[in-house]
Symmetry: C2
Subunit: 243 residues, 2 copies
DNA sequence: ATCGTTTTTTCCGTAGTACGGAACTTTGGG
DNA sequence: CCCAAAGTTCCGTACTACGGAAAAAACGAT
């Protein structure tokens, strides 16, 4: 469905450009013909998802706010209190992610009070094999699904600690299932250690994580943190089950 | 551009349905053929703007969160502090709206601390002739534009105080231009009084308003409130000019 | 387990929508 | 005032999207 995809491509491009761009800038970034873009933006402006400024440049429109809010409420709203408790107990950034196709997507986060902290963009898609939340999500999937999924994505190296061996990853997943949590040792971002646990329940795979610099999240801290993250996962699962 | 419009129609329908619905429910609500909807949702799921739950039902997807956040940041982020000050000074709900086509759209709000308070949905479109922000927006437009716009929309009565006479509305606009603010006397919602002022500047029409029940917002309060709302409009305009 | 019903998904020929090159208009800068 | 760049409109072609119909899958009842 081409035109739908292109319409959203424009919105994303606009978001990447900082929320404002002219038609020709959009044409250059997307590689689409100006006439095509014009037709798309005209429709989007008419619907209120885009706004045309007096300068004839375009901005994301007000109706996106409503959709985004509804979507966020759906995921984040009920999750942030739990994440906030985690941050209070641990002092590091807490995230909630869900499985979306072959990737993990962050849908809620509460940042750490430290000035040096993790910053994960809400809505960001990350691979499963090299992130805490990703590996936690994998522990919730049947082996057959894991195999199929990894077959599609492969295990590209992101840092030099990224697990690129399918056998090693499978062992990691098995360990995660056993302990109830997984650890990411800078596999996506050097120097960042992350503890993640699945959010159990009948609602589609989700996972919660806490991440911070390896300097603060040391071996001693890990022992204290892990049970708290697992407990948070259970709490989130329980909340979801009620809804 | 049909398919784009239909795609967004599905997203909105889903939002209306509380964020979750099955395919057949969407078919019934939108009146579209199941095959058509299936094709649309398949595309949207593939793009990440929709998520399919294990129950095969659909939910708003995580990527909408990012778009919505970016859009909200664009409007609301810089505005909420000012609106918050207004609420602190006045104790009633404060809103920011922009002109979008022939309607006003609320893009930011800070609710009043009272339990009985205005509730305006972010992203909601309202007519210009019967709302505080709408009339404030009209005061910023050249007479020719006002005429053209009112010619398109007409002046439908929403409550029994709605101004339906073009001459009376024009006088109201003239008065607003003179005083720097307008008053909405339950013209959109019975029992609600609202004070609104334009946000001046070269960024496209915008307006700020404060609204509450007529019981609290009485004549005496009006005298105190009006200058504050006008000042807030100026502050917002100044912030926008810097960006 | 077996069968009927409802919901979801796939198929496919047709209709019409979207495409994009090119021409035209408007805007902003010199 | 003129020129260059950006934005908008036009229009014939091609392909995309449409939706009825049939198949498949899930659900529930017996």
């Amino acid at each position: 469905m081409q035109s739908l995809a292109r319409g959203f491509e424009l919105l994303e491009t606009l978001a990447d450009a900082g929320g404002e761009a002219g038609l020709s800038e959009l044409a250059e970034r997307t590689g689409l013909a100006p006439a095509t873009i014009h037709r798309l933006v005209r429709t989007l402006v008419g619907l209120g998802y885009l706004r045309q400024l007096p300068s004839r440049r375009y901005t994301l429109g007000p109706r996106l706010v409503r959709l985004g809010d509804t979507a966020e409420r759906l995921f984040g709203r009920w999750a942030t209190p739990v994440l906030g408790d985690l941050v209070g107990e641990i002092g590091e950034t807490a995230n909630l992610a869900v499985l979306d196709g072959d990737h993990a997507v962050y849908v809620a986060q509460v940042p750490s009070p430290h000035s040096v902290r993790m910053f994960t963009e809400i809505g960001r898609r990350v691979p499963l094999h090299c992130t805490g939340v990703g590996k936690a999500l994998l522990t919730t999937l049947p082996d057959a699904d894991v195999t199929a999924l990894l077959g599609r994505t492969g295990l590209p190296a992101v840092t030099d600690t990224t697990i690129t061996d399918p056998v090693a990853l499978r062992a990691e997943i098995a360990l995660g299932r056993e302990r109830g949590y997984v650890i990411d040792e800078g596999e996506q971002e050097p120097g960042v250690r992350c503890v993640a646990a699945p959010v159990p329940g009948p609602h589609g795979p989700a996972a919660v994580s806490v991440s911070g610099p390896q300097g603060r999240v040391d071996e001693a801290a890990l022992a204290r943190i892990a049970p708290l993250v697992v407990a948070a996962g259970l709490r989130l699962g329980a909340i979801l089950a009620d809804t």
